[in-house]
Subunit: 278 residues, 2 copies
């Protein structure tokens, strides 16, 4: 496995790989890998000749008061895990390599970013689209892999690909969970022991909420009641929306999503399922 | 030469062409071809295995009071001219094919669109970037060709390619002119006979302005004085800016640009040249 730090070297590898007729699968990450990332690599390996994983803690998607500086990083460990999973290339550029100048042209996620995490993290998804568009172009990937845990991100990226006819397919990976149901996340390391014991309640609450939604009851109050008094973190939002359109009117696929701010970690989780329309 | 109207058919052609190892040159146009377009095709033919020309009067780049409906169109004539020039494929989609739904994600030209034509045509360059990003992705072109007559468009597209690492090169084509100096334009057909006689004065004025700028005099007043009382059209702007940054502070390449609104045609022209900084 090669680790590439410059755009020039990446482009040379892409040219050589494409020239030999191989397809390229891209797994974009911010590193500090967990089984969720590895499951995306496995999927990418099954569908492409070569797999490139980007590891880049993207400053453009962090707000001024967010956790960019203390976002967990461990490139050596990531290299070991990525190689074990069969990754061919890690692309781990510096921020200066990715953003050598201030962007003149901006991409905006628009109304899709007005709900869920987007409403709480202004500019976050614009920053995601900025780096993702760059990575799509730099790797010339045939397929790119994103986990459903970041369901809003996935929906917004799918929209960009559709609106602008990017020549690649977005492939969805199912959320990978701990045995007790907690969604794997790089940020889980920042949970205190007590918070770690509470964290699986998010998924339990969502399961109850899903059942309620399917039965035509209000899932948001079900989730809220279940968590009330049982978690120390503060609920940021609980929302039921259509998926992937993220609209209030639901017919067909829906997402029930939650975000909870614990002391040092903000956790998100969701369930995507089918509900009948009115 | 083939004319392709659907994205599906275009993608099949691109896949086949790329698969055979050929490079693709893209000449994006709104049709009603003139020698300016043909010179871009010639350039594209010299540098690529295959040349695709898009012909699409892009509704997204016309304002509500602009000339979208009466923009000149003649596909049969365009097909003849494009084929004579050696174009391999014309891509001439309908508006529904290009925009099957309202875009969720937007691209904005930002401050680069605050000067020259952008200041007079709000949203114009956002619409240009929208269609150009789509065409770049759909054709998977190695090189795309744009004329310097639309110098602000060229600068903004170059910025998008740089900011987002599109895997293609933008190639600049020199402005092609009538014998009397008038820049070739599809909109010239809408000049009255009297206006057509006045139109070459724009280029003459710019030449005098260029000389003034190089000598350290104010080119804008030189251009304005030269045209004062000699053209019936209304001057929309005369501006000297750096190029391609389009900033007020000039050191090195500069653009002296003009736009004039005649009765039915809005003409633009420019000169790009080297000036010494202060």
């Amino acid at each position: 496995m090669r680790t590439i730090e410059t755009i020039q070297e990446l482009k040379a590898w892409v040219k050589e790989t494409k020239g030999s007729g191989e397809t390229i699968g891209l797994v974009p990450t911010m590193g500090f890998l967990h089984e969720g990332h590895i499951s995306l690599v496995n999927k990418a390996k099954a569908e492409n000749g070569r797999v490139v994983m980007s590891i880049f803690v993207n400053p453009a998607q962090f707000g001024p008061n967010e956790d960019f500086d203390r976002y967990p990083r461990d490139l050596e460990r990531d290299q070991r895990l990525a190689e074990q999973a069969g990754t061919d290339v890690i692309f781990a550029p510096s921020a200066e390599e990715m953003y050598p100048r201030e962007s003149q042209i901006s991409i905006s996620a628009g109304a899709l970013a007005d709900v869920l995490c987007g409403a709480k993290r202004p500019g976050h998804f614009d920053g995601v689209l900025k780096v993702v568009a760059k990575l799509f172009h730099l790797t010339e990937a045939d397929r790119a892999y994103f986990g459903q845990k970041d369901a809003q991100q996935l929906a917004i990226i799918e929209s960009m690909v559709e609106d602008y006819n990017f020549p690649l397919s977005i492939r969805r990976g199912e959320t990978v969970r701990e045995e007790d149901g907690l969604a794997k996340s790089s940020r889980n390391v920042y949970l205190s022991e007590a918070e770690r014991r509470e964290a699986p309640l998010l998924q339990q609450a969502l399961q109850l909420g899903k059942q309620a939604a399917i039965e035509g009851r209000d899932p948001v109050s079900v989730v809220r009641q279940y968590l009330d008094g049982r978690i120390s973190g503060e609920i940021d939002y609980i929302e039921l929306l259509s998926y992937p359109a993220l609209a209030k009117e639901i017919e067909g696929e829906a997402i029930l999503a939650i975000a909870v701010q614990f002391e040092k970690a903000r956790l998100i989780d969701n369930l995507i399922f089918h509900v009948k329309g009115n």
